[in-house]
């Protein structure tokens, strides 16, 4: 179901979805209620104050459109995920994080107010002070507290549309964590790419990228051009991405960074949204597709925890094409927000017959480390693992849902799998 008028059509629908950029089943309906509300036509900007940056829009507005309109005027979202093909509603519901998590937290930390349709049919405004329980459960609540109709948050001023980027070769996982920690004090944007196939001494080798907005004096005078956009028009046969080609790719990518350190000015588009440059890049993984697995390992688990999780992956030969590493600085505002202080690993995993077993093994390791997983990326986690990871947070989430939606009108395929309703 798709409509410009979310308020009119959302009354009897169990779930909203945005642009479907969550990897798993979060935006899919439960089997017995196949109707989902697609928000993408509800995309009007309702107010924008150029002096304060205060911004309000309907929840289906995409970040691509927001950037297209307001970046040239010097404004940018305070937090952006690694793709701009997401809606404001999806950014709130997943409480997304970006390369500046260590400094600026999650998207939800910047939301000042939301309009929602809740289970009893009413349409209400919620904020940190108005229905704060609903507000906190909706941020990171994966659509399970109601339909987000409008989102209000503050845009940031940016000096240019360019990023001063530095990238640096990293030898192993220990050096990586030190490097990220050092960079966190100095750089607003940091993240790293790991070659997941490197084992033994070089396990966790990769490239760290750090960036900051380029001042207008350093930036090229013209705005970045919308360059050539290659597109994958067909699914690659599944043999194309095998252990060998991934190894080759990773080796080349690692070697490309032939100087230990390099730096320069790049467009925000290529720094923040590298994958958006290849339309339908996911088809590389063939028809069975792939899944993502993203976990966070708390600081208390110590430096070696990341190594232990990577070992689970490499020992099972779970071919991962992209593995991203990033440090988190603080806990999110939402009851079920994913980030917490520590280190996060995001692994792309091509789906094979043994994927369930691999995810189970990863989850058991993450549980031992006291970590948790990111719902926006998950489609294989078992309920018992999720419950064990979330404990008290889940109790609080359930209590708020009991208050606002005792009959569980809001449901998704993911909620059936992980929450049992």
């Amino acid at each position: 179901m798709v409509s410009e008028d979310l308020e009119r059509v959302s009354a009897d629908v169990c779930l909203s979805r945005g642009l479907g950029r969550s990897y798993g089943d979060a935006s899919l309906p439960p089997e017995d209620q196949p109707n989902v509300l697609n928000t993408r036509l509800a995309d009007r900007i309702l107010s924008f104050d150029e002096t304060s940056g205060a911004f309000r829009a309907e929840s289906g507005l995409s970040l691509t459109e927001l950037n297209r309109l307001l970046m040239p005027r010097g404004y940018f979202t305070p937090v952006s995920p690694g793709t701009s093909i997401v809606t404001l509603g999806g950014m709130v519901a997943a409480d997304i994080h970006g390369k500046n998590q260590h400094k600026d937290g999650n998207f939800g930390d910047h939301v000042t107010s939301m309009k929602m349709r809740v289970a009893d049919g009413s349409v209400i405004e919620c904020s940190p002070t108005q229905h704060p329980d609903l507000f906190r459960a909706t941020i990171g609540g994966m659509g399970l507290t109601g339909h987000i109709l409008e989102v209000e948050f503050n845009l940031r001023r940016i000096p240019s549309q360019w990023i001063w980027q530095e990238s640096r070769r990293i030898r192993d996982i220990d050096e990586f964590q030190d490097a990220l920690e050092d960079a966190a004090t100095e750089w607003p944007y940091t993240m790293g790419w790991i070659d997941c196939l490197a084992r033994g001494k070089s396990m966790g080798r990769g490239i760290m990228m750090t960036g900051r907005w380029a001042e207008s004096a350093e930036a090229p005078p013209k705005p970045p051009k919308k360059g050539f956009q290659p597109s994958l028009r067909f699914d690659w046969p599944s043999w194309v991405l095998n252990g060998l080609t991934i190894r080759l790719f990773n080796e080349l990518y690692y070697r490309k960074q032939w100087r230990r350190k390099s730096s320069g000015i790049v467009s925000n588009q290529s720094f923040t949204y590298p994958l958006d440059a290849i339309h339908s890049w996911n088809r590389m993984y063939g028809r069975r597709g792939f899944t993502q697995y993203q976990c966070v390992l708390p600081r208390e688990a110590g430096r070696s925890s990341a190594k232990r999780v990577l070992e689970v992956l490499t020992s099972r030969g779970g071919a991962s094409f992209l593995c991203v590493i990033k440090d988190f600085g603080r806990e999110g505002l939402g009851v079920l927000s994913f980030p917490r202080p520590g280190i996060t690993l995001a692994l792309d995993i091509a789906v094979r017959d043994d994927t369930q077993a691999l995810v189970d093994a990863l989850n058991e390791q993450v549980l031992q480390e006291g970590g948790r997983i990111y719902l926006a990326k998950d489609s294989f986690t078992r309920r018992e693992h999720f419950e064990a990871m979330e404990g008290q947070r889940l109790d609080e989430f359930r209590a708020i849902r009991d208050r606002w939606d005792p009959q569980r009108r809001f449901r998704s395929a993911q909620s059936v799998r992980l929450l049992g309703d």
Binding site: M1, S3, D5, R44, L46, F48
Partner: protein, 245 residues
Amino acid sequence: MRVAFLGATKGMGRALARLMAERGDSLCLLGRNPTDLQRSAADLSVRGAGAVVPCVPCDLEKPGMFAPAIDAARAALGGLDAVDVTAGIFATQDELEADPGLAERLVHIDFGNTVLFCEAAKKGLLAEGGGTLCVFSSVAGERGRKPVIIYGAAKAGLTRYLEGLDHKHHADGLNVVTVKPGFVKTSMTSALEPPPFAGEPDAVARQVLRAIDRGTPVVYAPSPWRLVMAVIRALPRAIMRRVGF
């Protein structure tokens, strides 16, 4: 360009109004729901249509509102260069056959009242010394077809009216642009299965804006529909009786 726009709240109208706003045209929004009009006005204002985008109530089901709405738009914009009409409704042939009341409404809105609205718009534009009247009809008006008998008839009537208007007033400086969309993915058609050559509202809007700027009298959008309709118009009755489209 100063534009009075009936139907900018949704679909292709929203897309076209946004393109106009982004290049700095002045817009005045006409429509039936004042609070919803204000929301579109805010959106267009942020996109570049100026600090204030005036809104004027106008319901296609109430012909008494048409002339005053055009006058109000002229006053608010300090003149008038173009009137765009994307407003309209759609219902399937089955729905219309099952509900004569709905059929009556549809014929009124999409044909009779749209014609009356254009009469008011034409007067306003001619009083300004001419301008562009851009109206969305449909490829459904090109041939009597089983799935769109009533809707198609209303659009066929509208197309003929616009054609006559062009013949009569082109010399007076009135540019009539008749847009004939094929299948375009908007909420109007969201319940239908998209055929080949289904278009996106943004692409259609870009095509229509070009036509407005150049004064192209008839636009098929997306353009492959020009060919598709040429074929359908050429099919003999014996075949039209058999096929489902």
